[in-house]
Amino acid sequence: MSLLERVRALLGDDAVEIAGGPDAVPRVAPASPDAVALLLGTAREEGWRVRLEGAGTWLPADAPADLALTTRRLDRVPAIEPQDLSATAEAGIGCDLLRQQLADRGTWLALDPPGLAGRTLGSVVATATAGPLRQGFGAVRDHVLGVTFVTGDGRLVHSGGRVVKNVAGYDLTKLEAGGFGAFGVIVLVHLRLRALPRADQTFVLAGTREDLTQVAEDIVAAGLQPAALELMSPALARREGWALAVRLAGSAALVASQEAGLRGASGGRFTALRADEAHGFWMRAAESVATRPVTFRIGGLPDSSDELLDLLQHQVGDEWVSASPAVGAIRWAGDTTVDRLRRLRRTLAGLEVPLTLERAPWPMRSAVGHFGAYREGVGPLVASLRRTFDPGEAFVVAVEGSE
C-alpha cells in the first residue's frame, strides 16, 4: 500500500489535501487531534518523515519530507470565556479569524506576531514569534495557559490547563512554545486573554536612530508602561527616517494619563495616529517582515540594544529591523548568507545573546538551525528531549543546523 493509500485508509479521502505539491510531497490535513495522533503513530511505524505546516505563510513549506502535516483543518474555537478571560482554540485557526471571534466577545489576545494576518495560532506558539506588544504583555509563552500536542510517535499529551494559575505537573507548555515543532505538533492551545482595551492609541515619532533611542529611554525613565515601544527601521515603518512607535492600551483613564506622560517625556513631539492609521501601521509592519526571505530574533539586555543594532547594521545590514529596546528584543528581516549568519551568531554568543532563526529557506535553516549551538552541557538535554518526544525522528525540523 502506498503512503497515500495508507493515509486515505486511515483518515479518509478528504484528509489528503494535495496529492503532490510542487515538491511532490503529499499534504495531509487531519480534522481532529486524534487524527493527528493516528497519522503520526503510523508515521512512526512506517518511518515516514513529516514536516509541519500551518497556513503556509510564515515558514517556507520546503523541508524535505515524505508528507506534510498541515493543521489547517484544526480550526475550531471550542471556548471563549469573557468572564474568565481565557479561550481554547485549535492550532490551525488563523490569528485574524481568532482575533475577530475574541473581539466579538469583548476579549483580546495581546499578541501581534509578525507575518500575514492569516498565520495560524499554532505557528505563532510553536515559533514563539511575539511582536511589539511583548513590551507590555510579554513573550508568547506568557499568553499560553496550556497546550495539547502530539508526539512524533502519535501520543496526545496535555500540559497545563485553562485556568490562569497552574503548577500541576512539569510545565511542558514551555517546551512547546518556541520548540519549532521539534517536541511535538501543537493541536490545541489554552490562551490567557485580556479585556478588549477601552482605549488604544498609537503615536509615532520619526528621527535618527540615536535620537529615538534617547526618547525611548526617557519614556521608560518617566515610568510609562506602554503596550508597545518599538523602534523601527525606515523601510519597515514606511517613514523617511527611523520611527519610534508607542502604543498605549487599557482603560480610558490609564491611556489618558500615559498620553500626558508621553507628552511630558518627549516634549510633545509624537504624532497621534487615527485608529485606522494605527491599524494599518502595525499590520503593514508585521506583514513586511514576511516579505523578506530570512527572519531572526535576538534578545539581549535592554541597555545593549543600541550596540546590538550597530552590530546588525555592520554584519548583515539594518534595512528591516524592529526592536523593543526596553526589553532588549530585536527582530531582523532581510536576505543574507549562511556564512554571515553563522558569524553573527558566534559574535552574539560571545555577548551572551542568543540568535533564533525564525524563517529562512530550507538550505539555510538546515545549515544554520533555528537555535544553532547551545551553551555548554545543554546539547545533551535537548537531544534527549527530542528523543523523548520524537523517538523515530519523524519531524523534519532544523533545530541545531549542520555546523
Binding site: L10, A37, G41, T42, E45, E81, P82, Q83, D84, S86, A139, R141, G154, H158, S159, G161, R162, V163, V164, K165, V167, A168, G169, Y170, D171, L172, K174, L175, A177, G178, R194, A195, L196, G223, L224, Q225, G250, S251, L254, S257, Q258, I298, G299, G300, L301, P302, V327, G328, A329, V353, P354, R375, E376, G377, V378, L381, L385, T388, F389, P391
Partner: protein, 436 residues
C-alpha cells in the same frame, strides 16, 4: 533532595528516611542588582523579601510575593513556581526568571537561558521553573525586577454573602482593569485574623471581604481606576468600601491578609492549607460547594485566597489527635479537589504537587501525559534521584509501562518499549484517566 526555607505547603521539601537533604540556605548572596536593566542575580537561599528590600533604594522590587515571603527563598520559589497576591498583575515566578545556573543530578553544571531572558534554544528555563526540585538544583538565578509603583490605592470591600463577593471579582476582571491584587477572605478567616495580633479592623459581621489593590505610574489613572472598581463592587453588593488613607493603614490591611494562615493557628492545633484554581466565573458556585462539603464533614473551612486569579485556599482547621478526624479531613480535601476539577480547574495554583497532591494528578492528566512528564524528568535525572517520589505518581507510571501497546490504527504494529532502555524513553500510557 534540595531544600530552601522549608516553608512549602505541599510536602515538596519533605524527605523520607533514605534521602540526603541539600540545604541551600547558606547560598544566600544577592550577587548583583542592575537597575538599568532591572535585573537581579541571586543565589537560591536569598529570602524573597530580602531581595525586594535590597532593590527598594533603587526604586525597584521583585514582584512575586508569596505570603511566606519573609521566610521563603527565591530558590524554593523557582522550584515551586511560587505565586502571591500581586501575581494577578505582575505574573508568577515563571514570568520573572530570566536565566538559571543549574546543577544536574550527575553534578554537571549548566547555564540555562540568557541574561536578557530570551531562551537559548528551547525554553529550558521555563521548563525548569516549577519542576519542584526534580530536574536539578538552581544555584544562581537571574530575575526581572519591576519599578516600585508611584501610585497605590488599597480598598477593602465587605459583602453580606460569599456569592456576591465572588460576583464582584468577576465584574472587576471583566472590566479590563487589572488590579495589582484582588484577595478574598471569608468570615471564618476574618474572625481568626481579628482575634490575633494581626487584627486589621476587618468587619467581623461580613460574610466576606475583598482586598483590592490598584497601582501604576500615575496618580490620576490609579485614582480613576480605584473609583471605577469601587463603583463596580458597590453595584455587585458590597455593603461598604474602605480606602486605606495612608501607608500605615495599607500595611495593616495587608498584614491581616498575609498573616492569615498564621492567625488560623488559633482555631485548632492542626491546619491543612489547600490550594486549587478554578475559572474565575466559577468562584461563587465553588465557594458554596466548599461550604457544603465542610458542613457534610463537620469541619471548619476558612477561605483566604487570590480571588482575581481564581486561586483558592480552603483551609481546614482540625485536631489531629481526635480519632477519625484525619480521615474526614482527607475525604473533604479530596471532594474539594474534585469540585474544582469538575468546573475546569486544577489541583494546585502555586503550592506545587509535592507529596500532598500526588494522588490527584491522575484526576487531571491522562496516562500518556503523566508518562510524558516522567520521561522529561528522566531526561534531567535519569535515575530519579533528585527529590524522589514527588510530582508524578511514579509507581503508577511503572504499571503503565507494562501495559503493552496502544492501538494506533488499523494494522498497527505498535511496540512496547521498556521504560528503562533510554533515559528519555516515555513509558506507555493507557490513554485513559485512572485513579491510583
Amino acid at each position: 533532595m534540595p531544600r530552601g526555607a522549608g516553608t512549602g505547603l505541599s510536602g515538596g521539601a519533605l524527605a523520607d528516611g533514605s534521602a540526603v537533604l541539600v540545604v541551600l540556605t547558606r547560598l544566600n548572596r544577592i550577587l548583583r542588582i542592575d537597575p538599568t536593566n532591572r535585573v537581579a542575580v541571586v543565589e537560591p537561599g536569598v529570602v524573597n523579601a530580602r531581595l525586594s528590600a535590597a532593590a527598594a533604594p533603587l526604586g525597584l522590587h521583585y514582584a512575586p510575593d508569596p505570603s511566606s515571603q519573609t521566610a521563603c527563598t527565591i530558590g524554593g520559589n523557582v522550584a515551586e513556581n511560587a505565586g502571591g497576591p500581586h501575581c494577578l498583575k505582575y505574573g508568577v515566578t515563571a514570568n520573572h526568571v530570566l536565566a538559571l545556573e543549574v546543577v544536574l543530578a550527575d553534578g554537571r553544571l549548566v547555564e540555562l537561558g540568557s541574561p536578557g531572558g530570551e531562551p537559548w534554544g528551547p525554553d529550558l528555563v521555563g521548563l525548569f521553573v516549577g519542576s519542584e526540585g526534580n530536574f536539578g538544583i538552581a544555584t544562581r538565578i537571574a530575575v526581572r525586577l519591576h519599578p516600585l509603583p508611584r501610585a497605590v490605592r488599597t480598598l477593602l470591600a465587605d459583602f453580606a454573602s460569599l456569592r456576591s463577593a465572588g460576583e464582584g471579582v468577576s465584574a472587576v476582571i471583566a472590566s479590563g482593569i487589572v488590579p495589582a491584587a484582588l484577595e478574598m477572605m471569608d468570615q471564618s478567616c476574618i474572625n481568626a485574623v481579628e482575634d490575633s495580633v494581626y487584627a486589621a479592623g476587618y468587619p467581623r459581621d461580613a460574610a466576606a471581604v475583598l482586598l483590592v489593590e490598584l497601582d501604576g505610574g500615575a496618580e490620576a489613572a490609579v485614582a480613576a481606576e480605584a473609583t471605577t472598581v469601587a463603583e463596580l463592587l458597590l453595584t455587585h453588593g458590597a455593603r461598604s468600601i474602605r480606602t486605606a488613607s495612608d501607608a500605615a493603614e495599607r500595611e495593616r490591611l495587608w498584614q491581616g491578609r498575609k498573616k492569615a494562615f498564621g492567625a488560623m493557628g488559633r482555631l485548632s492545633r492542626d491546619l491543612v492549607v489547600q490550594d486549587a484554581v478554578v475559572p474565575r466565573s466559577a468562584l461563587p458556585d465553588v465557594l458554596e460547594t466548599i461550604g457544603r462539603i465542610a458542613a457534610t464533614y463537620q469541619l471548619t473551612v476558612s477561605n483566604v485566597f487570590h480571588a482575581g486569579d481564581g486561586n483558592l485556599h480552603p483551609n481546614i482547621s482540625f485536631d489531629g489527635a481526635v480519632p477519625g478526624l484525619k480521615a474526614r479531613v482527607d475525604a473533604a480535601s479530596t471532594e474539594i479537589m474534585e469540585a474544582c476539577i469538575a468546573v475546569g480547574g486544577t489541583i494546585t495554583g502555586e503550592h506545587g504537587v509535592g507529596l500532598d497532591k500526588l494522588r490527584y494528578m491522575p484526576l487531571i492528566f491522562d496516562g500518556d501525559s503523566l508518562a510524558a512528564m516522567r520521561a522529561v524528568r528522566r531526561v534531567w535525572d535519569p535515575d530519579e534521584r533528585v527529590n524522589p517520589g514527588k510530582v508524578v505518581p511514579v509507581h503508577a507510571c511503572r504499571e503503565w509501562a507494562g501495559w503493552g501497546p496502544r492501538a494506533t490504527g488499523p494494522g498497527s504494529a505498535g511496540q512496547t518499549r521498556p521504560g528503562t532502555a533510554d533515559p528519555g524513553a516515555m513509558p506507555r500510557g493507557s490513554g485513559d484517566r485512572m485513579a491510583v
